[in-house]
């Protein structure tokens, strides 16, 4: 079947099967930031935005994004660079495999709640597993980024 949707702001028309998962479709369209870490919706690695809301692309049928806007980390390069630098400065990216899904949700967190407390950060990102970092370094990085953005707002 034919699927029309917007991928990273570019209108696309692709042929899919009724059971194609959004994750597999996006990887087939060279959005390699989108990763599969489990098959059970537990790890958060495959997080993308559908109409600006974070969803698990492993648990979303591609057909469900008909007419909608999908954004992967490939479409958020500048934001990811600015934000990610704070994670990198903690060494908390480690193996990096969980990073794209984490960055997607961390960006969503910032957009939704730029003044998030530590507990709110932890809760918002609870669905993003990381086996390397122990989470503390990621928390430090996110906290520093939110602080930096607060300062930016103050200076404007």
């Amino acid at each position: 079947m034919e699927l029309k949707f917007t991928l990273n702001e570019v209108p696309r028309v692709v042929e899919i099967s009724a059971d194609t998962l959004l994750l597999d479709l996006l990887r087939s369209m060279k959005c390699y930031s989108v990763k599969r870490g489990c098959e059970t919706g537990n790890c958060g690695l495959c997080t993308v935005f559908v109409d600006e809301r974070p969803v698990l692309s492993c648990s979303t049928l591609a057909a469900r994004v008909e007419g909608r806007s999908v954004v992967t980390l490939e479409g958020l390069r500048e934001e990811a660079e600015e934000y990610g630098a704070y994670i990198a400065d903690e060494g908390a990216e480690q193996c990096g495999f969980c990073n794209p899904g984490l960055m997607m949700n961390a960006i969503a967190l910032y957009r939704e709640n730029p003044e998030a407390t530590d507990d709110e950060i932890k809760e918002y990102l609870a669905g993003n597993l990381c086996r390397c970092s122990g989470y503390e370094g990621q928390l430090r990085g996110i906290r520093s980024y939110l602080e930096f953005k607060k300062g930016e707002v103050r200076h404007e």
Binding site: S28, Y32, L73, A80, A88, G91, Q94, G96, R131, G134
Partner: protein, 773 residues
């Protein structure tokens, strides 16, 4: 920080950002499945539903009739020489007990057929259409009864053990050893307090976020090119050569970025199957393990039961230790003979200061359960759980504090450690780690158990730990350093950065040695065709062993650069010196820049400005640490939550403070998972209950309270810049520290992992401390 270190370093010790960090956080395509074609053959494995069976018939006709079917390979199609998939230096201590496919299947999940198809859909349909008939056999499912059982897991005649590890397939033995020192019976007889304990650790999964995956293709020269997510490129080359029966020279192995390993990828779990498909079909192929395959048929921790007996005199001097470890290697022997050793060598050795006798015996057995492998800690967490629990109980019985009993007994710098190959503790800040951890958590400030509210208590617990730094006299680390055209340096290594940051750490060493900036150093790793030989990244070896090779390569390269520079300055070599960006005459009046030297090296030059150095260490100096936990226990539900974990580690000089801290924090969280959540349950048929991340619960960020870590460094004279290792040590303390806190809260010592709410609640009831609540 580093009190013993004489020198202030410029690049080493600094919290430098990882060279690949920005590529990773922005989600660039750098992993195996990203950098290899998507339109290659899809490889899948049909797996045994039986724990032990003989294949009587395989009908592949219907599978081959599926549109897109390319091949189904069975045991009839594969070489008949046995090999091991354990990534270890040859001759491997693990027995040669595997075939690519065997007529006898030995655990639920053992491969029965290799399937290759044009698409994933076709491959999955083929899996359903291969018809296999089995003669189901009785299985060895209890590792207590495996040794000398009449049922044999490996009855075959071509089973081979290459090393004298006490292996015997006719007895289901993967390894057996007896080791002792001093007069054990006499020493125990003189002890006034003896604690005996048996602990049981499960076959935990590494659960790295990137599952096993390998792509293979035939290169321009007709050779097999294996691109894989592996910690051990050179061992992969040998093992694929053994499995396929083709020369090593026909194989090239490269690794892109790795999405986590933790030892899982120190075994050749996936590589041999697509390698066989590509070698047979001469077409590119790829195998990506599902999470379920990772959980049931990979390379988890060895399930161990550790029995320990610790004896002390009335003053708390620990005089005797007796340990017996029973380790379950599962259906194959991978890492079985070696992991077990650490259960004793890394636990008994914590108490060298007053010890007068020890015995350490072990058996490692075959069972019809999933085969184990290497996982961070490599046997040490199991042994340390036993010994640290026993020492905490001993302190309790003697009425002295757990901190005090360590102060009396723990290994100190200068101690000869009999149970650790007789090595001397050349660098050990365990005493300072203990002091600092105690201060940070306020160990003496409150009782070890206090009430938080009407149904929650907060208890403290502690443990100490050690690991090694590489495998002494075995591990080989190498580095090639060359002057680049623009006057910088290229570092080429065979070690594998699996997220740990070794590419960056080794580049820092180059920058330190060559007096340049980090931006002047490029790193390339790892490729069997280009990298100098390195045993690979495991056994806490890379910083310590390969780092030393980097140091030496840099020194030798400076000499070569000076020789060429001297010629250009028309001075004798002994009258010039290497400075950051140039070779200068001794008086500084004449200089030739590195860029000019690099340019000269490409014109009329006969001496390569490139050095490869190789290092191996006769010792494996242990890093040490102290872990102290504050654990909240709900006495109504049995739920436990780590609210604060203090850890102070001595890994020698800290080469990169950020990366070492993340190792420490990440390892502690894995240890907390091991202690509280991560279970592996074998069902009656030998299958595993926890076959997904839904059932195998690893810690999320909601499960962890505060982590409060720091370093208290010693200076290891044999290490690069005084460094030891950090990677494995960090997982060792949470299990015994949490068990200790549970005891302080409930009055019961838990001995079987994980400490689930059910077990804790049972302990609360059994302990009877809260009957009035």
């Amino acid at each position: 920080m580093s009190k013993l270190s004489q020198k202030e370093y410029r690049v080493v010790t600094k919290p430098i950002r990882k060279l690949d960090a920005m590529q990773l956080v922005t989600g660039q395509a750098v992993y195996t499945d990203d950098v290899t074609p998507q339109d290659c053959l899809v490889v899948k494995l049909l797996r045994s539903p039986h724990a032990h069976a003989l294949i009587t018939d395989i009908d592949t006709e219907k599978a081959m009739a599926v549109p897109g079917a390319v091949a189904v390979y069975t045991y009839k199609d594969v070489p008949q020489e046995r090999f091991t998939t354990a990534g270890q230096t040859y001759p491997e201590p693990s027995a040669y007990d595997r075939l690519l496919l065997d007529r006898r299947v030995r655990f639920v999940g053992d491969p029965v057929a290799i399937i290759a198809a044009e698409t994933k859909e076709a491959a999955e349909m083929m899996l359903a259409r291969v018809k296999v008939s089995y003669e189901v056999l009785p299985a060895v499912l209890d590792f207590h009864t495996a040794k000398d059982n009449e049922l044999l897991v490996h009855p075959e005649d071509n089973w081979r053990s290459l090393c004298p590890v006490g292996a015997d397939n006719r007895r289901n033995l993967v390894a057996h050893e007896e080791d002792s020192w001093g007069d054990l019976d006499k020493t125990f007889a003189q002890c006034s307090q003896i604690v005996e304990k048996t602990v049981h650790c499960k076959a935990n999964n590494q659960a790295m976020m990137e599952t096993f995956r390998t792509y293979c293709e035939i290169d321009t020269y007709g050779r097999l090119h294996v691109i894989s997510s592996t910690q051990i490129i050179f061992h992969v080359r040998r093992i694929v050569s053994n499995a396929l029966g083709i020369p090593k020279s026909k194989i090239r192995v490269t690794k892109p970025r790795i999405g986590g390993g933790f030892g899982a990828k120190q075994s050749v779990v996936a590589e041999i199957y697509p390698a066989f498909v590509t070698w047979k079909t001469k077409r590119p192929s790829k195998l990506v393990y599902t999470r379920e395959e990772c959980q049931i048929a990979a390379s988890p921790r060895h399930e161990m039961e550790v029995h320990v007996k610790v004896g002390a005199d009335a003053q708390g001097h620990i005089r005797a230790m007796d340990m017996y470890t029973l380790s379950n290697s599962g259906a194959y022997s991978e890492h079985g003979p070696t992991t077990v050793g650490l259960s004793g060598h890394k636990s008994i050795s914590l108490y060298a200061n007053q010890l007068q006798a020890y015995r350490f015996n072990y058996d490692v057995v075959y069972t019809n359960l999933q085969s184990a492998g290497a996982f961070r800690g490599y046997g040490a967490p199991q042994g340390i759980f036993a010994v640290e629990s026993a020492v905490n109980e001993l302190a309790d019985r003697l009425g002295i504090s757990p901190v005090a009993i360590r102060e009396i007994n723990m290994t100190r710098e200068g101690n000869v450690i009999r149970s650790y190959y007789g090595e001397t503790a050349t660098s050990c800040a365990l005493d300072r780690c203990l002091q600092r951890a105690k201060e940070k958590i306020g160990w003496d400030d409150t009782c070890l158990c206090t009430k938080v509210d009407d149904h929650t208590v907060r208890a403290k617990g502690m443990a100490i730990a050690m690991q090694g730094s590489g495998i002494s006299n075995v591990d080989v680390g190498s580095a090639t350093v060359r002057l680049t055209e623009d006057g910088g340096y290229a570092l080429v290594i065979g070690a594998a950065d699996m997220g740990t940051g070794c590419d960056t750490i080794l580049a820092q060493m180059v920058a330190e040695m060559m007096e340049c900036e980090m931006s002047d150093v490029t790193v390339y790793s790892a490729d069997t065709d280009f990298s100098p030989y390195d045993s690979g990244s495991y056994a806490s070896s890379t910083t310590y062993v390969t780092g030393k090779a980097v140091e030496r390569a840099c020194l030798e390269l400076q000499e070569k650069i000076c020789a060429l520079g001297a010629g250009m300055l028309e001075l004798p070599e002994e009258q010039v010196m290497f400075t950051a960006d140039a070779v200068r005459s001794e008086d500084g009046s004449k200089a030739v820049s590195l860029t000019e030297i690099a340019t000269k090296s490409m014109c009329g030059n006969t001496e390569a400005l490139q050095v490869t150095a190789t290092h191996s260490s006769p010792t494996s100096p242990p890093p040490y640490m102290v872990g102290m936990v504050e654990l909240d226990i709900d006495i109504e539900t049995g739920e436990a939550m780590v609210v604060n974990y203090v850890a102070v580690a001595d890994c020698g000089t800290v080469i990169n403070e950020n990366l070492a801290r993340i190792q420490l924090e990440g390892g502690i969280v894995q240890g907390i998972g091991m202690a509280l959540y991560e279970n592996v349950t074998y069902m009656k048929d030998g299958s595993i209950a926890e076959n997904s991340l839904m059932e195998y619960k690893i810690p999320s960020r909601m499960d962890i309270g505060k982590l409060d870590v720091e370093f208290e460094s010693s200076f290891e004279p044999s290490g690069p810049f005084g460094a030891k290792s950090i990677g494995e040590l960090v997982i060792d303390t949470p299990v015994p520290a949490i068990a200790h806190a549970i005891y302080e809260a409930t009055g019961v010592w838990l001995t079987e992992l994980p400490f689930t709410p059910e077990k804790i609640l049972e302990a609360v009831e059994q302990g009877g401390k809260y009957k009035n609540n």
